[in-house]
Symmetry: C2
Subunit: 149 residues, 2 copies
DNA sequence: GGGCATAGTGATAATGATTACCATTATTAG
DNA sequence: CTAATAATGGTAATCATTATCACTATGCCC
């Protein structure tokens, strides 16, 4: 639950720290961070903007995009792009990796991880002489709630 | 190697046949089909347009988009959207499903399938009461060729 | 072979998400 | 407090894709 919205004033040691090069504290960035961490996850930029305006009415959409990008660079948020091509954001960095089950009926996102799948993916990559850095698994279908109807 | 570019004149029995409702033969659609099946795969719409123009100089980008959509509806092509959000196309329908290893250095796409992963994905979905219809697995990293350099 | 209904096409305007630009505002080291 | 400059808001620009519309091509009918 650490918020990094202020700059490390000294030279950066790691790429990640460099990506996080914020020079000044900013109320808007803080609010956008709070929105991402306020429960309803998987918001797109427009939805984040809508929520953020409840707290800071004047905040602009450009600032939302900038802040989201910045937070992703910091490892404080992560972005993923489902089949409709519109980016969605969730709190936490790639360390909190998980896959998505996406209901094509109600649009709900279910998060899931299967260590066995992760391991097999590593092996699959290795068989092709491929060094994986990240991956994306999305399963589209009908969730339990929608199937019951 | 069957080309469906002419309409089934009678009422359609299946959803798939309906999606394939082409009323007339069209040279452009045929050419676009040929481009998709001509070796270099994973082209985006613009690249397909570029190739198609070599064979039919006057062909427009709108027609390319229309034909690609149509071929996908027929099961003669399939679309997937990598992390940059720009759709790419390959011949064949979802029956020829496979996953992608995408090199972030040279942009190459390697196709792969691992039945074990597929099975585990089914189980993962089932554990969440989820009825999967399709899925997408993309592994980003460095391919063997680029790692060697 | 010619006519006709209409599917297909090309040019381009429209769209929607995202980014770039720029004048203004806010932050903070000194 | 002040200067230097990062952050912001509004909006124009961008880019892939879709919609529109006038025109062309296809193929069933005679």
């Amino acid at each position: 639950m650490v918020i990094i919205i202020t700059m490390p004033r000294k030279p950066f040691k790691t790429l990640e720290a460099r990506a996080c090069q914020a020079a000044r504290h900013s109320k808007r960035r803080e609010v956008i961070f709070e929105v991402l961490n306020s429960g309803h996850s998987h918001l797109n930029a427009e939805e984040v903007h809508h929520e953020a305006r409840k707290r800071l009415p004047g905040i602009g959409i450009a600032t939302v995009y900038r802040a989201l990008k910045f937070l992703c660079g910091c490892g404080q948020a992560s972005e993923f792009i489902p089949a409709d091509g519109v980016a969605r954001y969730e709190p936490g960095g790639s360390r909190a990796h998980h896959d998505h089950l996406i209901c094509t009926s109600c649009g709900r996102f279910i998060e899931a991880v299967d260590p066995a799948i992760e391991r097999l993916q590593e092996k699959l990559a290795a068989r092709h002489g491929f060094k994986p850095t990240r991956h994306k698994l999305e399963i589209y279908g009908i969730c339990a709630g929608c199937a019951g109807k």
